[in-house]
């Protein structure tokens, strides 16, 4: 008789879970469709609340960061809460539990899939925001991408963990929001600050401390999530 199979390693597991999730997403567009439509609706509502003249008067750096990040955060909630709800239909969550793999790697895989979805969301919504609120994106594109990526990663790190907690007690977006938004407060502050600075044309050096802080935040909570995820997933 052969020796028991040793499970996949950390990186392989994360890659497998992420690829599986993205393949499922591609087939059903379960969360992406909801995310994009929701983002669109929020943008339309904002256009009622703040008219173009007001935005032109104030300049892009005052209104746009807030609009951008509320859109990303609230559409992101959909992907965070779906990340583990999609394992409940045929109790595939138990199948993941039974696999001889590191549970932190399962979290990492889910995180990667969520990040791809958020990236897709942002490539649509950010230009759309620029279009709707008529400001010029091109001169700030580079620094803006850096700011977006950094804070999206941090948001997803916490969001995937809180989404898993909400899914474990059978709740969806509402509980995820209650858990995530206060915990992510420093990140959201930094996101709005740095986005404003970038849109205002300030050099990256002036927001270096914020960016490093957000990076540290994301890394710290990634470690916390990987370490505690076993307890979240446990039956």
């Amino acid at each position: 008789m052969k020796a028991p199979a040793n499970g996949a390693g950390f990186v392989t597991t994360a890659r497998l879970v992420a690829a599986k999730d993205l393949r499922l997403e591609w087939r059903t567009l379960d969360s992406l469709a909801g995310m994009l439509l929701f983002a669109l609706i929020v943008l339309v509502v904002y256009s009622f609340a703040f008219d173009g003249a007001m935005n032109r008067e104030l300049g892009a750096r005052f209104l746009i960061p807030g609009i951008l990040w509320t859109v990303v955060t609230f559409s992101g909630l959909i992907s965070f809460s779906r990340a583990f709800q999609n394992e409940t239909a045929d109790d595939t969550l138990t199948a993941l539990r039974l696999a001889p793999v590191d549970r932190g790697a399962i979290y990492t895989g889910k995180l990667l899939a969520v990040l791809v979805k958020l990236a897709a969301l942002e490539t649509v919504t950010v230009p759309l925001t620029a279009l709707f609120f008529s400001f010029d994106l091109a001169p700030h594109a580079g620094p803006l991408v850096l700011v977006l990526v950094l804070h999206t990663v941090g948001l997803a790190v916490l969001g995937t963990l809180t989404g898993a907690i909400a899914a474990r007690v059978g709740r969806g977006e509402a509980l995820t929001a209650i858990l995530l938004l206060p915990a992510a407060a420093p990140l959201l502050i930094s996101a709005v600050e740095t986005t404003g600075a970038v849109l205002g044309g300030e050099p990256l050096a002036s927001i270096r401390a914020w960016l490093l802080g957000s990076l540290g935040f994301a890394m710290l909570f990634f470690c916390v999530a990987v370490l505690t995820f076993d307890y979240v997933l446990e039956e």
Binding site: V169, P186, L220, F221, T228
Partner: protein
């Protein structure tokens, strides 16, 4: 069996008497001993309750952190009972800080609320503690609720430290009554009153912690009895 008082129950009444006596003494020190502060006037006396309540909130979070880690490590429900007690006490003290804060802030700053470092931190902490209670009540069994709430407890404790730093950086305008350099200017009676009130608040925290812990224990026993009776 349940009528046998344990050490916790026995310590409850002495603690209650001690806290009440201490509270009377502290109030005497605050209102009759300490002078009215020159700049802020009478409202400054709120400081004697507001600040110790804030300190006790952080103490409750520290206890919650210890309880959460210890529960995940040992899976002993006693640690989870401690976490429950710390969450409930933390919620109480945090709520008191949140209410007395604006009442002090209105005459001092001219506004009820500002998105200032400590105010924001305190509000966020209150939401996180309430969310932990919510998650417990949503979970369909005690074990799952305890585990998820413990993870949240760890998350909240780490997070609160970071939020504090981040918002401070962002905008800080909180009054500091004791400035490190200017300590000699403050009337010693103010210091005495503050010190005494802080001690009384520690007693109050311990008292509330004992009561809430005892209740968590009783609920545990009730659950076990329910099961012994065959539901």
């Amino acid at each position: 069996m349940s009528s046998t008082p344990n050490w916790l129950e026995r310590s409850l009444y002495p603690l209650l008497v001690l806290t009440t006596a201490g509270m009377v003494g502290a109030l005497w020190l605050i209102f009759l001993h300490a002078p009215e502060e020159k700049v802020m006037g009478a409202v400054q006396k709120l400081f004697y309750f507001h600040v110790p309540a804030a300190i006790m909130t952080y103490a409750a979070v520290a206890v919650l952190l210890i309880g959460s880690i210890a529960y995940l490590w040992t899976r002993d429900v006693r640690w989870d009972n401690l976490s429950i007690a710390a969450t409930e006490c933390g919620l109480f003290f945090c709520g008191m800080v949140l209410i007395t804060g604006p009442i002090w802030g209105r005459p001092a700053w001219g506004v009820w609320w500002t998105w200032e470092a400590r105010l924001t931190t305190t509000l966020v902490l209150w939401i996180l503690l309430a969310a932990a209670i919510l998650v417990r009540s949503y979970a369909d069994n005690r074990e799952l609720g305890a585990r998820l709430a413990s993870v949240l407890g760890i998350l909240a404790a780490i997070d609160i430290y970071i939020i504090r730093k981040a918002v401070e950086w962002f905008r800080g305008m909180h009054p500091t009554v004791f400035k490190p350099g200017a300590e000699r200017d403050v009337d010693p009676a103010i210091g005495q009153a503050f010190g005494a009130t802080s001690l009384v608040f520690i007693l109050l925290f311990l008292l509330l912690l004992a009561v809430t812990y005892r209740e968590a224990q009783l609920r545990d026993r009730a659950e076990r009895l329910t099961q012994a009776l065959g539901r």
